[in-house]
Symmetry: C2
Subunit: 108 residues, 2 copies
């Protein structure tokens, strides 16, 4: 997790500094349903580069939002999942979903 | 507003395509309380360039999220405000605020 002194004063800006980014929001959306593997995420998130996906996952892991679990198989299986803290972001994604549904209703 | 055929299938991705960006989220946070002028926004959003602020405001206007009102004064006063559609994003920002407050509580 980040240290208190590294966080903006504004709580909205705190959240935005951690997940205010297209790819991170879509990764969280995916991880809400179940753990995902790196390659699965890369295939699903059209247009994301390997570097950006790696960087996004690393920074979300450092921020305490996701966990990275290595299963001792051959080859090792690595899965990304929401931590408890990450799961508490569900209401943000849920409100985005509601708003998106409404926008799609209104769009012609 | 965008046309239906230009929107992603996923409602979360629809919202993310419109506001999944640090600056747009912070602009919306600011406009929740009252209309803001361009220069005020630029001063408040530390690090935003004139170009990025202009582009962000234009695309949010095109998406129907904000309004741009020119008051016939000398020099003309231009104010940006949330549209009714933009106001319906309040719950998204509200959940981000709640989460940010919680994260700040947990951070050491």
């Amino acid at each position: 997790m980040r240290k208190k002194e590294d966080l903006p004063n504004c709580p909205v800006a705190t959240t935005v500094s951690m997940i205010g980014n297209k790819w991170k929001l879509l990764i969280i959306r995916n991880l809400i349903s179940r753990p995902w593997r790196f390659n699965e995420l890369q295939r699903d998130l059209e247009g994301i580069s390997q570097k950006v996906l790696t960087d996004s996952l690393r920074s979300m892991e450092a921020d305490g939002i996701i966990t990275r679990t290595v299963y001792p198989e051959v080859p090792p299986r690595v899965e990304y999942a929401l931590s408890e803290l990450g799961k508490s972001l569900c209401p943000v994604i849920e409100e985005m979903k509601k708003w998106g549904l409404m926008y799609k209703e209104l769009a012609k």
